[in-house]
């Protein structure tokens, strides 16, 4: 083995020392001959004879050199280098062909590398924690149909219970990842510094140690810092530290004012610490008190659980154990836990699943893979055409003793060279592609925070793709050419009436395949386009125009109890109403069409459904003028008034869908419901009005049952402000800020934005997605058109002679035109039919991939084939026209 290695190494080395070894051998051979001649002379031969005999005995110096070279080096590598040199010469001799082939592949590889950089950035990057595969995330499984129902967060009582009971985790941490805190300027002199709303996470003290990360500056939380009194410590993200505090190292130990309270900065996390969808700017200890352990707290599911697996435990075992733990909780606390389950994923799996990008990436990668296949088919077609022109050359080489394998390898080398050139050019293009994608992908913080680059994964991928291309492009012509029949090809003077049958069949199949792929892509993209267009154009159920929005979060320090919150909202609404240009104003727990949370509830005097599935509806808390401000029409009954306050009987307004689905269209007014939420009062609530439906999300077409509660009866701390303006809503932004500051100077306003802009932002991903897919489909169409054109033009060129004969025998121009057109149309028709058949199940596939998105467009199944035929006619017409004008005399003479 060692010997073999050593020999291989020596052989490899000898390739690079070839000139020196050759001259060494020359000297040795010369000395050999001299010695032989001398001996012969000593034996009495004349000089000439002595030399002749020596040479005879030696047996051919040239063979010796060859044998020597073969013995010392790697013949295969030698051959490859030789083939490469030959291929380079061939490509240089034919620059038009080379540029066309390389550019086609470069485009295909560039779009693939660019899209793969997304895969690499979002799916392949390992979370920056120690041993990420050993970190597990525990989620609740919501029995009601909800978005990502099997990745719901967990309640505090379950966290505490499961942390004690489980046998599979070394340690378990909890995090409330989506909090908002206000940061007020430290030095009050800087009046410019407005209070800033920051994304924060409240985490158990062991959070960072469970993940296995340490701050780059300062220290992590210590045990006990989750106790009231010791909990006023904060760890900053690198981004916040760098932006707001100019990366000041002396910040550690200083005090920040968060939510009106003083917190000591104890650490700064490294810049690399970023967990995909979790984009906290700071971390504070999660304090769990006695109220977090009551039965009522079971309905407040807001924690993400992170745990490190014991050395001998697996995720599967952990999953099984948590299914059992959840079942036990459901038995012990049926009221809150009925039907709820639990599941466990590894951290990388969870982050990718939670980020919900895999489906979009799958579609994009499939699309670009198809584009690449079409590009490869084009290049293979070019190579085939070229190989046909070189049949004679190949025949001569085979006749002279080149093995078929040798010929195949030679042609594959050519494909390899083109593919590598294409790969290099493609990487260059994808460098800009990635910059473009990076600049377009900014519609939310989490997406913007993910760095994208031509990283090692992308480079490896591009290289692998290039090699695949080399095989795909080179193999068909190589196999085809190696079947070259020496006799016919040498005899035939290139005058063959028409190209060999197998040859043209292969090309026909390839072009038909291209058309099928392109049709498939066009239909798929068309469906997505149509679906997204429908969503764009849909009536959301409210008036988004002239609506200015903002969000505030009322902190516990000042707004602990209900009266404080209602007082704040009363003052705020009064201030907002005074803004010049404000027509009506409102606050709500969620803005319309932004996917509010859902809650379970019961209907009085209605039989409970026997299954484990409770009734659910979207649940929004709104102030009095919400419906008027949002422009949601009232259909029956009444909306809320100032009298629906904390002391009055509980009332609610529902939407049409609620009446339809949950009350089976019975008269809803006067019906009593009870909401199953942690801070709801336990008495029955009467339905007093019905409003029309609003889409659940602006970016899909779903309409769900919805319950509206009056703010005065359920004052929630997290609020959105809405101002209906008589003019441009953006012009009221500063007045809005002023109005909030009038009520509370330390309360930060987040995302002050006109509603249309907000909806745009929610759909940002879709727009990008559709634009990218659309350009890929177009690229595929253009490439396929070029493929048809190339094939038809080539086969017409080959048949000039035959066409000349036909014309000479009396065929008229239209006959020839028709004949050639028929060829192109046949391929287009078959290809389009295959593509159509493949695309039939697509709507179902999209339904299962995208929640609440049902693209249907039967017209596409006519438009796309028609478009393909039109393109095929265009691509065929030019060569067909040329063929029909062939002068028979020239065609027959021409050779």
């Amino acid at each position: 083995m060692i010997d073999l290695l050593r020999q291989s190494f020596e052989r490899l080395r000898s390739i690079f020392r070839s000139p020196q070894l050759d001259s060494d051998l020359e000297a040795e051979l010369a000395s050999h001959l001299e010695l032989a001649i001398e001996e012969n002379i000593q034996h009495g031969m004349p000089v000439g004879e002595a030399r002749r005999q020596a040479l005879i005995r030696f047996g051919g110096t040239e063979q010796t050199r060859l044998l020597h070279r073969e013995a010392r080096a790697l013949p295969a590598l030698d051959m490859l280098l030789h083939d490469l040199r030959y291929a380079v010469r061939g490509l240089f001799k034919n620059p038009g062909f080379t540029i066309a082939a390389v550019l086609t592949l470069a485009l295909g590889i560039a779009v693939n590398a660019t899209m793969f950089s997304l895969v690499s950035a979002f799916l392949l990057r390992r979370p920056p924690v120690r041993d990420p595969e050993r970190v597990a995330v525990v989620s609740s499984v919501n029995p009601a149909p909800a978005f990502h129902a099997d990745a719901s967060s967990v309640s505090a009582p379950n966290y505490l219970g499961w942390r004690e009971a489980n046998q599979v985790f070394e340690d378990m941490a909890a995090a409330d990842e989506y909090r908002t805190v206000s940061l007020t300027a430290q030095n009050h002199s800087a009046a410019a510094a407005q209070p800033e709303a920051l994304r924060s996470a409240a985490v158990s003290p062991n959070y960072f140690s469970v993940l296995g990360v340490t701050p780059q500056l300062g220290r992590p939380f210590e045990a006990g810092e989750d106790q009231p009194g010791r909990d006023h410590v904060v760890i900053l993200s690198y981004e916040l530290w760098d932006r707001r505090f100019a990366a000041d190292r002396s910040l550690i130990g200083r005090t920040l004012r968060l939510n009106r309270e003083n917190y000591t900065v104890i650490g700064v996390m490294p810049e690399s610490f970023r967990l995909l969808g979790f984009t906290s700017q700071l971390w504070t200890p999660l304090v769990l008190t006695a109220t977090d352990q009551t039965a009522a707290a079971r309905k407040d599911r807001s924690l993400h659980l992170f745990a490190r697996l014991k050395a001998d435990a697996t995720v599967e075992r952990a999953r099984a154990e948590f299914v059992t733990l959840a079942r036990r909780a459901a038995e012990n606390f049926p009221e809150a836990e009925r039907g709820w389950g639990a599941t466990v994923r590894t951290l990388p799996d969870f982050l990718v699943y939670d980020f919900e990008i895999r489906n979009a990436l799958t579609i994009m990668m499939t699309t670009v893979a198809f584009v690449l296949m079409i590009a490869c088919a084009n290049v293979a077609g070019l190579l085939l055409a070229r190989a046909a022109g070189r049949r004679k050359e190949l025949a001569i080489r085979i006749a002279l003793g080149a093995g078929r394998l040798r010929v195949i390898l030679q042609l594959l080398t050519e494909g390899l060279l083109i593919a590598l050139l294409g790969g290099a050019a493609g990487l260059l293009l994808s460098y800009w592609g990635i910059q473009f994608v990076r600049a377009s992908l900014t519609f939310n913080e989490a997406i913007s925070a993910v760095p994208m680059s031509l990283d090692r994964n992308v480079l490896l991928f591009a290289f692998a793709v290039s090699l695949t291309c080399a095989l795909l492009c080179g193999l068909a012509p190589a196999l085809n050419a190696s079947r070259t029949d020496v006799n016919t090809n040498l005899k035939d003077e290139g005058r063959a009436s028409s190209p060999s049958r197998s040859h043209s069949r292969l090309r026909t199949v390839m072009v038909t395949g291209q058309i099928a792929l392109a049709s498939f892509l066009l239909i798929g993209t068309g469906l997505l386009f149509r679906g997204i267009f429908l969503v764009e154009q849909q009536n959301l159920g409210f008036r988004a125009d002239h609506l200015l929005t903002a969000s505030v979060t009322l902190d516990v320090a000042r707004y602990k109890d209900a009266p404080q919150k209602t007082l704040f909202v009363r003052d705020l609404l009064a201030q907002l109403q005074h803004i010049p240009g404000a027509e009506t104003v409102a606050v709500a727990s969620d803005l319309p069409a932004t996917g509010p949370g859902s809650a379970a509830f019961r209907i009085k005097d209605q039989l409970e459904s026997p299954t484990d599935q409770p009734l659910t509806a979207l649940d929004v808390v709104v102030s009095r003028d919400y419906f008027q401000t949002a422009g949601i029409p009232l259909l029956r009954g009444r909306t809320f008034t100032e009298n629906d306050n904390a002391t009055a009987p509980s009332v609610a307004v529902v939407n049409q869908e609620f009446v339809h689905r949950h009350l089976r269209d019975q008269d809803p007014l006067g019906k009593q419901i009870r909401l199953d939420v942690s801070d709801a009062k336990s008495n029955w609530t009467e339905i007093v009005g019905v409003v029309s439906n609003v889409k659940t999300h602006s970016e899909d077409a779903r309409e769900d049952p919805e319950i509206y509660e009056p703010f005065l009866q359920r004052p929630v701390p997290s609020l959105f402000l809405m101002v209906r303006a008589s003019s441009d809503p953006d012009s009221l932004a500063s007045a809005l800020r002023g109005a909030v500051a009038q009520v509370d100077t330390e309360l930060p306003l987040a995302s002050v934005m006109a509603m249309p802009a907000l909806i745009e932002r929610q759909k940002g991903g879709d727009t990008f997605f559709v634009r990218v897919l659309g350009s890929f489909a177009l690229l595929a169409l253009v490439l396929a058109a070029i493929g048809i054109y190339g094939l038809v033009a080539y086969s017409v060129g080959q048949r000039t002679h035959e066409i000349g004969i036909r014309i000479a025998l009396g065929a008229r121009n239209p006959d020839v035109l028709r004949m050639v057109l028929r060829e192109g149309l046949k391929m287009a028709a078959i290809g389009a039919a295959v593509g159509l058949a493949l695309a039939l199940p697509l709507p179902k596939v999209f339904d299962s991939m995208f929640y609440g998105f049902h693209p249907r467009e039967p017209r596409l199944y006519f438009i796309v084939p028609a478009a393909m035929l039109a393109v095929a006619i265009l691509a065929t017409y030019i060569p067909a026209r040329r063929a029909s004008t062939v002068d028979p005399m020239i065609a027959l003479r021409n050779n």
Partner: protein, 117 residues
Amino acid sequence: MAESKLDLLQGTLDLMVLQTLATMGSLHGYGIARRIEQVSGDHILLNQGTIYASLVRMQQRGWISADWGISSNNRKAKFYSITKKGRKHLSDDTAYWQRLSGVMGRVLAMQDEGGDQ
């Protein structure tokens, strides 16, 4: 010459060269070729040139080493000598060849006996 010369079996040339170097010490290519011819009594069809391929192959395997030197009649020549590894290989291969030729001899003798029946 009444008998035709023997073609070399695959691998035998390497063995002959090694044996020559083992008994004669350091030798140049021409010397090795002549020595083999002499010992074989000119029974072997040897293009002297072929031994150079064999020499470079064995050199790469580390069985022999080479150095430029001056021949007995004052000419510059490349001298080869066997290495320790080469000796080991030689003894392995010698044993193999002796066993093989013994077996071949017996097999062929047996065929002679039964051949005329």
